[in-house]
Symmetry: C2
Subunit: 406 residues, 2 copies
């Protein structure tokens, strides 16, 4: 399926507005906004996925509860403070901000949710952020999707947005997305914060399983450092503003394909901008007996510190690839495995039928000079396949994370 790419991110679909402001959450002046708001002019259907971390942040605890009501109209977001491991005070702070936003927007408290990202264990600076909420409401505009994407960035080096139009039987609908995520990225789920919007009309009952499946293929196959965050939250909001319903099986299929496409696209943006990354790594595990095995293998290779460091060094140390496959927990035959390294500079086979090949090191080095590297492991032991997304392990990852709080 080809999609018509358009500008606008989360506010590209009709009936969505966003805003961003600087509330000085970290107590350091900056040009970058640190609070944002996303708003739908009309009622919505909503689906969401949250972190599986036991120390879920206050906004995640509240979000899970509110999503049951499924009446979401607005989301407040902030970077600079995760509001995680903040106890009862953290829950009360999130409530206070949400209630203020609901009052100013003329919504019920149940219709406003909050999501936070940043340092763990520090309370939100509520007074500054109450002023932030007051600033955000009048600035809401359909032009501000990009500003919101900028506001939620932490160690991200680029804002992460996508938006496009797709044709359904009833007409065109739009899909938009923004997310932030650079470190503390690991299944389940690997996003930190992600927001998807659509002006299609589709029920929450249909949306939730679609979202779960799309996330399993994309964000849950993405790893930067093996650390699952306390704050991961992903929202998909459909407001029906296009007047186009997603009801027929064909339309559902087309909508689901588009959702997969945008989720995988955003997951790749996260992998490509992994903290300190100089290479994106795509791992294709092919021809295993079960999908679970294929996913285990692909994620294990993408997450191997040793292979990630080799990739940084542009060293075709494929032994580490099969080492990581071997400890993934997946079941497979070890004597039929072919292994390839590929980039836009070419493709080279480094292993055949489970044993190493003598290969042209110069050609391999040329392939590994490119930014985006694909590792293909073909087990010839089944028909299932899976793809994982990751990046290399660099000096800069260590530098960024050696001194994140200051």
């Amino acid at each position: 399926m080809e999609y018509k790419m358009i500008e606008g991110g989360v506010t590209a679909p009709k009936g969505f507005k966003a805003s961003a402001t600087f509330a000085n959450i970290k107590g350091k002046m900056s040009e970058k906004p640190d609070m944002a708001m996303l708003y739908s002019e009309t009622k919505t259907s909503c689906a969401a996925v949250f972190t599986t971390n036991k120390f879920a942040a206050a906004p995640v605890i509240i979000g899970r509860e509110k999503l049951k009501a499924a009446k979401l109209r607005a989301i407040i977001m902030n970077s600079g403070c995760a509001n995680a491991a903040t106890g009862k005070e953290g829950l009360a702070n999130a409530d206070k901000l949400q209630n203020e936003a609901a009052k100013l927007l003329g919504l019920e408290p149940d219709e406003v949710i909050m999501s936070s990202t940043g340092v763990i264990g520090v309370q939100l600076p509520v007074d500054k952020m109450m002023q932030g909420v007051k600033d955000l409401v009048p600035k809401l505009d359909a032009k501000n999707g990009h500003d919101a994407a900028w506001a939620i960035m932490t160690t991200d080096t680029v804002s992460k947005e996508m938006s496009f139009e797709l044709q359904l039987s009833g007409g065109a609908v739009r899909m938009g997305a923004m997310c932030k995520g650079s470190g503390m990225i690991h299944p389940n789920m690997a996003t930190m914060l992600a927001y998807f919007t659509t002006d299609a009309e589709i029920s929450a009952e249909v949306l939730q399983p679609m979202l779960k499946d799309a996330v399993d293929k994309s964000f849950n196959m993405t790893t930067v450092d093996g650390d699952t965050s306390t704050n991961d939250s992903l929202f998909l909001i459909a407001n029906g503003a296009s007047g186009v319903k997603v009801e027929s099986e064909a339309d559902k299929k087309a909508f689901k394909e588009a959702l997969d496409y945008i989720c995988i696209g955003m997951a790749k943006k996260i992998a490509s901008d992994g903290e300190g990354a100089s290479h994106m790594m795509i791992v294709e595990a092919k021809n295993l007996q079960t999908l679970k095995d294929a996913r285990l293998v692909a994620k294990s290779i993408a997450g191997s510190n040793l292979f990630k460091a080799a990739l940084f060094g542009q060293d075709a140390n494929w032994g580490r690839i099969i080492g990581a496959a071997g400890y993934s927990g997946a079941e497979f035959a070890t004597d039929k495995l072919d292994c390839f390294l590929e980039s836009c500079a070419g493709k080279i086979q480094v292993m055949a039928e489970g044993a190493g090949l003598v290969f042209d090191e110069d050609k391999a080095a040329n392939i590994l000079k490119e930014k985006d590297i694909t590792v293909i492991v073909d087990f010839h032991d089944g028909k299932e396949e899976a793809t994982a997304y990751g990046c290399d392990l660099t000096y800069d990852y260590v530098k960024i994370n050696g001194d994140y709080r200051s």
Copy 2:
């Protein structure tokens, strides 16, 4: 229990000899030997633990098989080439070297085993190593434990040895150990190569469960980079040369305590010399409901790239500690957790009852300047505890692993 520490490593117990030689396995001249041999003058009882990696190296495949015969008298070891992912040729090469050693030592082929460490996917240089075996046999001597420990090093910066004497009811017995391991260190099991010797007389049936339990507490709680090797092998060889039997329950208990002590001691040596490490990290997970939960939490924290990078930066970013506990898969209450950081410079509490404390950052910084750092997480939610061993994530880890093959 106090032990009388003695010199000698694996050859400290009576009746053991070792030797080392340079066979030029990597094709680069070096002062460091790259082959070693360990030999018992008399028949032995033997226990062993091997890697769980599906791509087990040729010597591991052979070793598992031979250990069933349990007649081990000699081990050939090499660094520089792992003989993993080497197919049938790899198995044949290991057999050839083992058979040559058996012939020269006047032993049955079943009594000689081999273990290898180094680059994956490259065949052993058999001709050079056949000469190596010829050199090793006449050099066998009870004085050469240290040379053997040196020969098995790869990226290790120090050789790892221990030996001591303990008193049993029948008299004194000795225990000795050497191991190598620096990168590709992760349960199960986390050692690369480890050899334990004792001159106690004890049956293989008693040894194997003792060893399994000791390894679960030590090497299987040690992580450097989350990568489980293809070659991990640990041997415990008892030759009875002291004439002291381990039969009574009291003697078995004393022997087991000594085995735990030496295994934990060696595991700490590996963690402390983790590739590029500037800090050793000891994680004590306390008062959880099950041992499994306690081990999951301790290992997860010790393995968190984010906290490992913070430790390198001497940054008391405890949020990453509880983040890692939260995604460990363990069950626990989140609202009673106390968290402390400790070193020889002092101890500081950073979290109480599940929420962050305001603490003295200068004091925390002083504590984190020390090399050995203990993280204590007390869940007040049960009675089980576990300790994990790890190290920080540094520029040097990336450097070492960005260009390991060359």
